[in-house]
Symmetry: C2
Subunit: 506 residues, 2 copies
């Protein structure tokens, strides 16, 4: 029962099939925007809850800043950029009126407003009012919000005009403290990706031409999708005094001298869900890591005769109560009893496509023998993927089972990532040949096709053009640098010292 498209057959279409069949999101009548449906939004809620706790445990506080940013806030930036043009939603009117039977924008604004593409400008403006003395620092805030970037080729979760994210913004009294914050939050993203999403990442710094505009340094976590392409999963920016200078965030320091603050910003978005899909889903559909699964255990009653109903449902009720006492990952377990008026086999496939970690089917025979029929999503199609188990044995092991699934999903993805970072390419010639292949699904356990290359880079100024011509990117300069010299894979220059990750990307 594979999806209409498989990873090997047509990877982009497979991705759309997974999202549709798992009923996670869909395109809407609002052009380029998506409707996030309960299963997709439930995953986002789990990601949000986990990361929100992490943010708060490091003394950040949540706020909410306006979505509309006056156009003039962008003027200064635009004056310093040649050919400035940004795809952003612009509000120009504040009223709709009927004119000759046609609904028409009315009451033009004195100053157009931009729907936030990100909030550095408007938040820096607030910081400038809040910060007067070193005693007011650090300011550590975060917001969960929607943002808009006018994408021309939208794709569900990966690139939509409106998306949801968190954006942290902080101000500090020293560059060192701000840099530490930037790296602390990057580490929090690594932890989120690896420990919660079971999605391994490579951590590093962006090259100059890939930095966030206005940043001194942009750090990132980069994940590998099953087609060998990179997905930027999160970024953390050290902004130095750049935003502080333009918004006038200044404070009197301990030496009683005026000084501009040092700021940071960092964010992850609903794009992470696209990353989770392309890390874990298979040709049968979605596979959700137990830590972020809206339901970790789905119970399907299998009732053929009405006379069995009472018996089966009462057995399930007892089972539910026992399961609720279990604490996978030290948390309340999330269980769904699917009582809908549908065939049980259809329900099974629906939850399989959604990627629920554990599905239980329970019919009269299971009740008679005190058993459950256990199906683990990651083992679908194998002998262990479908087994009759004693009910008490299942209850006792359910937490461990979910924890094992989480661990195995990470290990599988980690092995794939490690296998598919080529480190043996040492010359420009081999490098060009490698990337002359088109991307395709990296089959686990077989040789990878085109994925990541870790190799030398000279850091030359013309790199951006060369990369564009090859349709590849430098994902990051990983933190663990070898310190050796070698031929720059991009320019062919000798004695290049920087290790980088080259890859195609989303």
């Amino acid at each position: 029962m594979t999806l209409k498209n498989t990873r090997a057959g047509n990877y982009p279409e497979w991705y759309q099939n997974v999202v549709a069949e798992a009923d996670m999101a869909e395109n809407s009548s609002s052009p380029g925007c998506m409707v996030i449906k309960p299963w997709g939004y439930g995953i986002w809620e789990r990601i949000r809850d986990v990361f929100d706790e992490r943010i708060k445990s490091t003394d950040h506080e949540n706020c909410y800043f306006p979505m509309f940013i006056p156009l003039s806030f962008f003027q200064k930036e635009a004056e310093h950029v040649d050919g400035f043009a940004k795809e952003m939603a612009v509000v120009t009117h504040s009223r709709l009126s009927m004119k000759d039977g046609k609904l028409t924008p009315d009451s033009e604004l004195d100053e157009p407003l931009i729907v936030r593409p990100t909030s550095e400008a408007i938040i820096a403006d607030s910081f400038s009012k809040w910060v007067k003395s070193y005693r007011d620092l650090p300011v550590l805030v975060n917001q969960w919000a929607n943002v808009v970037r006018w994408e021309m080729r939208p794709r569900l979760f990966l690139r939509t005009r409106e998306f949801l994210w968190q954006e942290g913004h902080t101000a500090h009294s020293s560059a060192q403290e701000a840099e530490e914050e930037t790296k602390r939050m990057l580490e929090a993203y690594r932890e989120l990706c690896e420990e919660t999403l079971a999605m391994p990442v490579i951590c590093g710094r962006k090259p100059e031409h890939e930095k966030f505009p206005g940043a001194v340094d942009t750090y990132c976590v980069e994940a590998m999708m099953q087609d060998g392409k990179a997905l930027q999963a999160g970024t953390s920016h050290f902004l130095g005094q750049n935003f502080a200078k333009s918004a006038n965030i200044s404070f009197v320091n301990k030496n009683n001298q005026p000084e501009f603050a040092y700021t940071t910003s960092w964010g992850v978005s609903t794009r992470l869900i696209g990353g989770v899909i392309m890390t874990h889903a298979d040709d049968e559909g979605m596979v959700v890591p137990p830590k972020i699964a809206p339901y970790q255990v789905v119970i399907i009653p299998v009732i053929k005769n009405d006379s069995d109903e009472e018996n089966v449902m009462s057995y399930i009720k007892g089972l539910q109560a026992e399961l609720l006492a279990q604490k996978p990952f030290g948390e309340k377990i999330r269980i769904k009893l699917d009582k809908r008026d549908r065939k049980s086999v259809d329900k099974f496939w629906e939850w399989t496509r959604k990627g629920a970690p554990i599905i239980l089917e329970i019919g009269p025979r299971d009740v008679a023998e005190n058993n459950v029929m256990l199906k683990e999503r990651i083992r679908l199609g194998t002998a262990e993927g479908k087994m009759v188990l004693n009910k008490d044995e299942f209850v006792k092991t359910v937490a461990q089972r979910l924890e094992n699934i989480q661990k195995e999903m990470f290990e599988k993805a980690k092995a794939r990532l490690e296998k598919n970072v080529r480190t043996d390419i040492k010359t420009q010639k081999d490098f060009q040949e490698y990337f002359s292949n088109s991307n395709s699904w990296i089959e686990d356990g077989k040789d990878g096709k085109v994925a990541f290359v870790r190799g030398k880079w000279s850091g030359d100024a013309n790199s951006e053009e060369l990369l564009k011509a090859m349709k590849i990117t430098i994902r990051c300069i990983p933190f663990d640098q070898s310190g050796t010299k070698g031929e720059c894979l991009l320019t062919g220059k000798a004695d290049a010292t920087i290790d980088v990750i080259y890859a195609r990307s989303y």
Copy 2:
């Protein structure tokens, strides 16, 4: 240490003072929009968490729908309304470019987009795709989102151009089921207001001219502010088949016949925080009900000599650990240790202005005697408002104390509401005289000035004009109708049968 303005002195200014001194929100550089600061947002997070659990416990699921709604979705509505004009943010361009050194909106959209003032139109469009058969019903969804209404006289929390809310939207296979849903969610709002916000409300139905456009019936919960004005705290709409017809949400019913679905919508917003302020705050500042206080217990170390620091902090650490085992309202307690480099008296006033329910001050003498200095916000200025208490005694009673505070806050507000609904006004003449007074603070324990009148209404078509002329409104037709007849207070007509609540309002 009262605020600059008091309730008796200048009520509107007092309100602004409370918000500013509690550091809950502020106006921003984005016109008409507010920045919700950590203390204000923390209250909203608590409201959200409590109500989100309630929503989910009644089988609703969270989704997210696009913020932009194509203009054409409003065309039909506009054609049916004379002089249609709506204050809404209209996006007309999708790009900013530099032209002659000036940043300018560019790339005009084929069809303007409206920033959602509410989402019935765009959600009904999705429902029309999801619903085919009676088996697909009910659809029960909710979203937490920002919405925009172009308010001309913005006021923090009460009326801002952008605000945060939840909006529930459901579709059903029968009118009866949809009406039950509408009333179930109104009851959930009553419960939220009274049990969580300690804000008593009157429940009822809106008169025809106050209904949500497109609704068959609008139900509401109405609260009384300390100046005697009404605040609409939440609404729940039975939409009949109106939205289903215009968006074509149709299904094949059990008799195999096509039928339009019956829909509902219901919402509460950050406006609730304005209601909480005007229900509970006093001349010293904010007073937050313990159930929604971001911190329920604030601990202030009182250290005059550095040599005392270690001793005091270690005592506090022990106290914190003991407190964390306590479960007020059956939940994890929320404690803040305020270690900032500020005078302890300033910290005390800061947390008093914020309305933290319990403040503990702990100095060397308390440590020596195993005590805490306990200050309860609602008892500020009274003998019980400041007392030395044995530490173990405090730990043992903290949950009960918080629960008592919550209860007393509700009872006080409930007594005020009951005292200030006039039911003895029986003639148009007395009614007009009553409302000829201007509003002002209703002092507790003294005779109310102008607040609510519960009395007869004829339901006449010209009521809206008469109400406007008197600058009052009909808040609702309460569910508990007396069934008696009497003079219509508004029109003077005899034999009016409907009991309504008349009041000035926000």
